[in-house]
């Protein structure tokens, strides 16, 4: 019943294993300290609550009112998950935009980076904290799983895979937001740039765009562009098959964006 709730933390903790190898137990402790502070920050301000409430309202609205969850008469959650890439497009940058720009605006980045920790520990800690907020919002959609199980006999394996895919998708968007928020002390700029980059990640593989491209471009070109799209990989996971290539794709996006974040922060410090 609460499969999604159980699943979320397991996926979240996976990236933390990597820095542990590099710096041992103290590295992990630093990451957790930073993540803890960040989560406290989210819940001390209205950001986390507003995000969770809006996310739940909008997923409900789109799944039931727009996609006609009941009228479809199908025991699956396609009507629910189909909207996630578009909802995340605006909601995830709203969560991530403050991640580094706020540190720069307040000057606390100077405190943080003169502590005896590596910039990587700060980057990963902050990212994980924000991802956990997104995971919590996603987990709170569990009533729809209960509903569909009450009404019919859905394939819960597919639903579980879709939840995992949705979480990975939000992580990929979040890493883009982390990167753009490191570029500027202005949260609005960070938000807009992040939305545009995420929109590119969606559109590159969105059927209307790929269909348009395929009219004049060769198939391999369309496929290459589409391979960069979160849609291609998200839809493939939604079919209930967690292909390692799709998982690898999302973690590559996260890894690349967080690495770029570290480069931007270093460049900013170097002047």
């Amino acid at each position: 019943m609460t499969d999604a709730t159980v699943d979320s933390p397991a996926v979240v903790t996976t990236p933390a294993v990597r820095p542990e190898k590099e710096g041992g137990a103290s590295a992990l402790r630093h990451i957790l300290t930073i993540a803890k502070r960040e989560i406290t920050g989210y819940f001390a301000s209205p950001v986390a609550y507003v995000f969770i409430v809006i996310f739940l309202l909008l997923t409900g609205f789109f799944a039931f009112m727009v996609s006609g969850f009941f009228e479809r008469g199908q025991a699956n959650l396609l009507a629910f998950f189909a909207w996630h890439p578009w909802l995340y497009l605006f909601l995830v940058p709203a969560v991530g935009m403050r991640m580094w720009s706020e540190e720069r605006r307040l000057g606390t980045i100077e405190l943080l980076l003169t502590m005896p920790i590596t910039p990587w520990q700060a980057i990963v800690g902050k990212f994980l904290a924000s991802w956990l907020v997104l995971a919590l919002a996603l987990a709170l959609t569990f009533p729809i799983v209960l509903t569909v199980n009450y009404l019919g006999r859905p394939d819960n394996g597919v639903i579980l895979a879709s939840y995992a895919g949705s979480l990975l998708l939000s992580g990929a968007y979040l890493s883009v937001s982390a990167m753009t928020s490191a570029m500027t002390r202005n949260q609005v700029v960070s938000f807009i740039v992040s939305v545009v980059l995420c929109l590119f990640l969606i559109l590159a593989g969105w059927p209307p765009i790929t269909n348009m491209l395929s009219q004049w471009a060769s198939a391999w070109f369309v496929e290459t562009i589409a391979a960069f799209s979160v849609m291609t990989h998200f839809e493939s996971i939604q079919k209930g098959v967690i292909d390692s290539r799709d998982v690898l794709f999302f973690f590559s996006v996260i890894g690349f964006c967080l690495f770029t974040t570290s480069v931007i922060i270093r460049a900013h410090r170097a002047g």
């Binding site: 300290t33 920050g41 606390t108 405190l111 005896p116 410090r269």
Partner: protein
């Protein structure tokens, strides 16, 4: 504890710090003086490892800040300019966060927080959110963060900025007290602060060190150092200057005021201090001057400061 070798930093075409070298040993309090934009904060940011130098090296406790930043940073407590802190946290939460990043857990963390809360008088605001605090409390919260791990090296960028006179006095006393067992570098605009708390001062201008010595040594560089001011109950300034000019130790005399007659006699170049006051005393006795006041000037740091750092406008004209 701190050694800075030929430190340079350029931002694009602008050179902020240009070849700064100095050492700070345990038990020393180094005052960092200089006009705005002289490169004080940039130097401190390089010492604490926030920004990498364009050239030169920083050693803290023997660790090179570039090659080995983590052990070097462990030794340092840092109060950045404007004392930033996380506005959404409580004072207790913020200090706990700093303690944990400094590797303290459980009982050790609790003791460290108790210690700095007492030192910085934060008991009354411990559970308040930082954004609701006055500037003085916010400043002290960030200061508390910098000493939470009882660091061997303390780098303070304008630690008394924005505090009221009482708080300034408290911070100065604290710095002086801690300076006996630590190596401290702090920057300031307030020259009396240097005299009150520093064992040594460096004046930096346009990215370069222009003076380095104890506050007493620096004051000696003032043109007023060793001059004697004499104020009489009667007599005329012309007659007094005439007599004083004939004294062997006097370089020149200036009349500060006519009534009451006040004259300042400057020491000749390479003249011995004390000589001047004695000679003036003797001439006053023979002439029967009724002296109201006679004292030897110590020299003032702000004279030295003004003499060796050029104000912003003159720099631009020169450029």
């Amino acid at each position: 504890m701190i050694e800075v070798r030929n430190l340079k930093k350029s931002f694009g075409a602008k050179t902020a710090v240009n070849g700064v070298s100095f050492k700070v040993e345990m038990g020393e309090v180094l005052g960092f003086l200089g006009p705005n934009g002289a490169g004080k904060s940039t130097t401190m940011r390089m010492i604490t490892g926030f920004i990498p130098p364009s050239d030169g090296e920083v050693f803290v406790g023997g660790f090179n800040m570039l090659d080995n930043p983590i052990p070097a940073k462990r030794l340092i407590g840092y109060l950045p300019e404007n004392a930033p802190s996380y506005a959404d946290m409580t004072v207790l939460g913020f200090l706990g966060f700093a303690a944990e990043l400094r590797g303290m857990r459980g009982e050790a963390k609790k003791r460290a927080i108790d210690r700095v809360v007492e030192m910085c008088f934060l008991e009354s605001v411990l559970h308040q959110s930082i954004e609701t605090l006055s500037k003085g409390y916010r400043h002290r919260t960030c200061f508390a963060q910098s000493i939470i791990h009882d660091p061997a090296v303390l780098v303070l960028d304008e630690p008394t900025d924005g505090l009221d006179p009482n708080q300034k006095h408290e911070v100065r006393t604290l710095i002086k007290k801690m300076g006996r067992t630590k190596a401290i570098v702090f920057s300031t605009h307030i020259l009396e602060e240097v005299e009150a708390a520093c064992s040594r001062a460096i004046i930096i201008d346009r990215g370069q060190i222009v003076a380095n010595g104890t506050p007493e040594e620096l004051k000696q560089r003032s043109e007023h150092a060793g001059a004697v001011t004499v104020r009489l109950l009667d007599g005329s300034s012309a007659a007094v200057t005439h007599k004083l000019d004939q004294l062997p130790a006097v370089g020149k005399c200036t009349v500060l005021s006519e009534a009451p007659v006040t004259v300042r006699a400057y020491l000749k170049k390479n003249g011995a201090r004390g000589e001047l006051a004695r000679e003036i005393g003797e001439v006053a006795a023979t002439e029967g001057w009724r002296i109201e006041e006679l004292h030897t000037e110590e020299g003032r740091l702000d004279d030295v400061f003004r003499a060796i750092t050029r104000p912003e406008t003159k720099q631009e004209e020169a450029a």
